[in-house]
């Protein structure tokens, strides 16, 4: 049987998803279900004086109106920050309480104040208008830059500072800077984004008063984590009485890794009223209350020698984490960001200092790339500026500073096991016809357009993550992954994974792996995930981890199956175990024609007997059945890397910028399914280009979200992109047997600096993301002015 790894197997899940036969949380309905509608704060910051539910409680169809007082009476715990960060001075981070329903203060527009539960959604919504909340409105803190000098939001959190974290050695950096020929400085804003998964968040919780069990359907990238948090922290029900199911989920991009107030409230309320409670966010609620992404203000410096050699790097960042510390809010701007900020370069001295601040805006958490896009944007725009200031070619300065020996121990944290950055950049320059740029620029100029080219060489730390390492750094959970491979008696296979697919294509990729390992046709393999009652505990999907960590667990479980199969085959074939070899789905006794297929072995394991005589095919002491579980904890992160080259055309009359050519050469290690990987890269690039040119979350001074709908929040569309030229290099990862590195975030990481470097190359001025038409037009006009003044 030919190997399926590396082949473009069409996605098994697409038929269902593309023909409308997917089953999402909103498609789940229970008999007698009630509908929840949340009363949300219209103010960015206010004290709650009084919540009057008397009218709403009496409105048509209303079953219950529950408030912060009820949730605290029932001792339901608050939402948690999952990663503990220490400040440079050794003190612990400071986080405010985050009750699922507020009772004293509200801290962003959209914050949850009460829930109305009614027989129909319309009745719930109408009654919600009758809940009278008496607010004392306070001055909101909105600006990331000014948060530390603004009014204090929480009594116990001075300067609105969650932590002031340092990674690296300030003294060594100072030494390096003292020796520098030149210091390149840059001030950046990493614009705040709203994730916009196609499927809005939703929950449907069913409570069975006889068994006291709650079944919660929810839009989650990580149902096991939702269960442990809702059980252990919110205290809604013990883990054995809470089943969490994340059925088909329409995208997450990080925003669905952890449970929100709504899931906690629906589960708790279902138990309270003994009826199923369903909630589906409308799009406005998604804009207001899904955790947002990015939002950094950064000052960075690079110390260089005149020949372009990098000597040292400083990164001073303020990260806005919004009104509360969400589950991965504190790790995203620290360990996911700081270590990666030195990029793919030899950087003898470096530090990253991050101050995380609270503001009266929606919580900010992991969003596709989580910290690594911010890191890459910082270093890659800085390196490009260094090239400009030193009069060097941007490719040359990069090549000069790439490490060429692997494994490579970086200065800050990571020990990069494998990579070949030189080959990657060379290939990108070849595929993207770097040499031909001047000719294309002339052609654009003949049409009145300014053409620019921009590079980005990136790496990321994926395959998240070695549990002891992350727990040492403050993570509240392990990050290994599980798999259970279960042969059914008739020889087909169900594979349970603790990761979760919400667009990534697990059903296909994971089946390819199992098919290769077991020699079973791919059609006979089903991948099951997303249900805490099926298969073992797992940690879900994010951080480009599923294949590298979860896929490896599948390989390990298959190894155990094969080991058992060999023992059984040896008995059945009357041979020595050591003489049994397994390949292509067959157990063969060496140097003989004696063999059993894996299907025959499975059958024998489940039906271990023979008609008419007492005879077992199983060796003495061997248990019946054929099912194995494996938990894989990687020894290291994996390190995808690559080089992207973007070309843009700017219309100086209008400032409109169009990406006209985009080349992405990525090293994801071994590729299981190029079709799936290309899809992941396309999606990532769309989000990365979106951040660079279009998307921007905008709060006004009072903390009202101005971009709360698609009328104002610019989601990029297909016509905003050219055809992407993709290519790959491959240095297999050494930390997992598959050699895979992860591909889900690369596009979103590499594209923003590649695009912005191209825009700045076209117009010759630094500008911030997103490079909207008006901003670019203004920059072009400024240039015209200075040029004519100079002349």
């Amino acid at each position: 049987m030919a190997s399926l790894v590396g082949s473009r197997v069409e996605r098994k899940e697409d038929k269902k998803l593309l023909t409308g036969r997917g089953k999402y949380t909103a498609d789940v309905n229970f008999v007698n279900q009630a509908y929840a509608y949340f009363v949300r704060s219209p103010h960015a910051r206010a004290e709650i004086k009084k919540v009057d539910i008397s009218k709403a409680s009496k409105a048509s169809g209303v079953v219950a109106v529950l408030t912060g007082a009820d949730i605290s009476n029932d001792k339901i715990g608050g939402l948690i920050a999952g990663w503990r960060i220490k400040s440079e001075d050794g003190s612990d981070m400071k986080v405010p309480a985050h009750p699922p329903l507020a009772s004293e203060t509200v801290n962003y527009v959209g914050d949850h104040v009460a829930v109305v539960i009614a027989d129909s959604l319309d009745e719930a919504r109408n009654a919600a208008e009758l809940v009278k909340v008496d607010y004392k409105v306070l001055k909101a803190v909105v600006s990331t830059q000014d948060a530390m000098n603004s009014d204090q939001i929480y009594k116990d959190i001075p300067k609105n500072l969650c932590f002031d974290w340092l990674l690296g050695d300030r003294a060594k950096v100072k030494e390096a800077f003292d020796k520098a020929d030149k210091v390149i400085k840059i001030d950046l804003i990493n614009n705040r984004l709203i994730p916009n998964a196609m499927e809005p968040r939703a929950a449907n919780a069913d409570y069975n008063p006889s068994t006291e069990e709650i079944t919660l359907y929810t839009t989650s990238q990580n149902p096991h984590l939702a269960r442990i948090i809702i059980s252990a922290f919110n205290g809604v029900a013990p883990e054995n009485k809470l089943r969490v199911i994340a059925p088909d989920v329409g995208g997450g991009f990080g925003s669905k890794i952890y449970p929100y107030a709504e899931e906690v409230v629906c589960s708790w309320a279902a138990k309270k009223i003994e009826r199923p409670v369903k909630w589906v966010a409308d799009r406005t609620e998604s804009f207001l209350s899904d955790c947002h992404g990015r939002d950094h203000v950064t000052h960075a410096e690079l110390a260089v020698k005149n020949d372009g050699t990098f000597l040292g790097f400083k990164n001073e960042t303020i990260a806005n984490i919004g009104a509360y510390a969400s589950v991965f809010a504190t790790v995203t701007p620290t360990y996911l960001f700081g270590p990666c900020a030195t990029g793919v370069y030899k950087m003898p001295a470096a530090y990253s200092n991050v101050k995380a601040v609270f503001t009266n805006t929606a919580p900010v958490d992991a969003y596709r790339g989580a910290g690594r896009p911010e890191a890459t944007y910082t270093i890659e725009t800085l390196v490009e500026k260094a090239a400009r200031e030193l009069g060097m070619d941007p490719a040359e300065i990069r090549m000069k500073n790439f490490p060429t020996q692997f494994p490579y121990q970086q200065t800050l944290v990571h020990s990069v096991d494998s990579g070949d950055y030189v080959t990657g950049l060379n290939k990108a320059m070849e595929v993207g016809d770097y040499k031909g740029f001047e000719k294309r620029k002339k052609e654009s100029a003949s049409r009145g357009k300014l053409r620019g080219i921009g590079l980005c060489s990136y790496f990321e730390a994926c395959g998240i993550a070695p549990s002891p390492v992350v727990m040492m750094l403050g993570c509240g959970i392990g990050l290994w992954e599980s798999a259970e491979v279960r042969f059914n008696p008739t020889g087909n296979v169900t594979v349970f994974t603790g990761s979760h697919s919400h667009g990534q294509g697990h059903d296909t990729t994971f089946a390819q792996i199992a098919a290769d390992q077991l020699g079973v046709p791919i059609e006979n393999i089903e991948i099951s995930h997303g249900d805490t009652d099926k298969g073992p505990f797992g940690y879900g999907t994010y951080g480009s981890r599923s294949l590298t960590v979860g896929g490896t667990a599948i390989v390990k479980a298959c190894d155990k199956i094969i080991a058992k199969g060999k023992r059984v085959a040896a008995k059945m074939l009357e041979a020595n175990v050591d003489d049994v070899e397994f390949s292509n789905g067959e157990f063969v006794v060496a140097k003989s024609n004696k063999k059993k297929t894996i299907g025959e072995i499975a059958f024998a394991c489940y039906l271990p007997g023979t008609y008419g005589e007492v005879k077992s095919p199983l060796p003495e002491g061997e248990e019946p059945g054929l099912k194995e579980t494996s938990f894989f904890d990687p020894a290291n992160f994996s390190f995808p890397a690559g080089s992207h080259i973007c070309e843009v055309e700017v219309d100086p009359e209008t400032g409109e910028t169009k990406v006209v050519k985009y080349t992405a050469i990525d090293d994801f290690g071994t590729i299981i399914n190029p079709l799936v990987v290309e899809g992941q890269v396309h999606g990532g690039l769309a989000q990365g280009i979106g951040q660079a040119l279009y998307e921007n979350c905008h709060y006004d001074e009072s903390g009202q979200l101005v971009t709360a709908s698609y009328m104002d929040y610019t989601m990029p569309r297909a016509d905003n992109f050219p055809d992407f030229d993709l290519g790959f290099t491959c240095t297999p990862a050494t930390s997992n047997p598959l050699g895979t590195k992860g591909c889900g975030e690369a596009g979103a990481i590499a594209a923003p600096p590649a695009v912005m470097n191209a825009v700045m190359n076209a117009i010759g001025t630094e500008i911030s993301m997103p490079a909207t038409a008006e901003k670019v037009w203004k920059a072009c006009n400024e240039n015209k002015k200075t040029n004519s003044e100079a002349a």
């Binding site: 919504r125 209008t654 698609y710 104002d712």
Partner: protein, 261 residues
């Protein structure tokens, strides 16, 4: 959505009789339904006018093109008569929203709604349109009164819009990257009696830019546009475009329109 009475009259008269200060006509519903769903508007009576046959259709007669009020954007975009008589109007319709919107939204609904960034109002002004209602004829330059405001009276129904067929015309739209409504849209039409330059998106309501119109009446060329000063005063300013930028874009897109005529 709040409950309401739904009516589906077959005659204009019946529709006007049902109308009150607490009713709405339902044409494409592309504005009305979302605002009802979001709770921004609620009505006692929703009067569907799509069943009134005489309100739809496209007809060229002599020097004018007449389009029935409930004619959908997609029908205008695809119409042979429109493409032949005023191709720029078919192109304008093709550039509204997305396929779903174009197959629901109507010309009458669009101009009755008079969104400051809608496309059709500029066409009405540039093409010296006459708005025919169930009770009178209104010149386009008197019809549009301000932001979401027209001179229609309660219960008054637009029956059709009659455009003067120009010698040359072109519409250039600079779409808002998010909503794809016009940040500015400029409709240039050259008639026997002179040139109209109608602008949408820039101010609270579409208008005829008199300076650009008279400059182009004297000299129909893009260099004539270059010499006109377009003032940003009174122009919209929002997160997508400042008044100053809009003023400049009016000129840029006027030039593009003249060059494409």
């Amino acid at each position: 959505m709040k409950t309401f009475n739904y009516h589906s009259p077959k005659e204009t008269k019946e529709a006007t009789k049902l109308a009150s200060s607490n009713s709405v006509f339902l044409a494409g519903g592309m504005t009305t339904i979302p605002s009802m769903k979001l709770g921004l508007a609620s009505y006692k009576d929703v009067i569907n006018i799509k069943g009134i046959k005489k309100l739809s259709g496209i007809k060229v007669s002599g020097k004018t093109l007449k389009i029935g009020a409930t004619t959908k954007h997609a029908e205008v975009a695809q119409s042979k008569e429109v493409k032949k008589s005023i191709p720029s109007l078919a192109a304008l319709a093709e550039g509204i929203g997305d396929p779903q919107v174009r197959n629901r939204g109507t010309i009458g609904g669009s101009i009755a709604n008079n969104d400051p960034a809608a496309d059709y109002p500029s066409a009405c002004i540039a093409l010296n349109a006459t708005i025919h209602t169930d009770r009178r004829k209104i010149d386009a330059d008197k019809f549009f009164r301000g932001m979401f405001e027209t001179c229609l009276k309660t219960g008054e129904i637009i029956e059709s819009i009659e455009f003067e067929i120009p010698a040359k015309s072109n519409y250039q739209k600079f779409p808002n990257p998010a909503s794809r409504y016009a940040i500015v849209g400029v409709y240039v039409a050259k008639h026997k009696g002179g040139v109209n330059v109608a602008v949408t998106g820039a101010k609270s309501c579409a208008y005829n830019d008199k300076d650009l119109s008279s400059a182009l009446t004297k000299n129909f060329s893009s260099s004539a546009v270059q010499n006109v000063r377009v003032s940003p005063s009174g122009m919209n300013s929002d997160i997508h475009a400042s008044a100053e930028y809009r003023a400049n874009m009016v000129k840029v897109f006027a030039k593009k329109a003249v060059e494409a005529c």
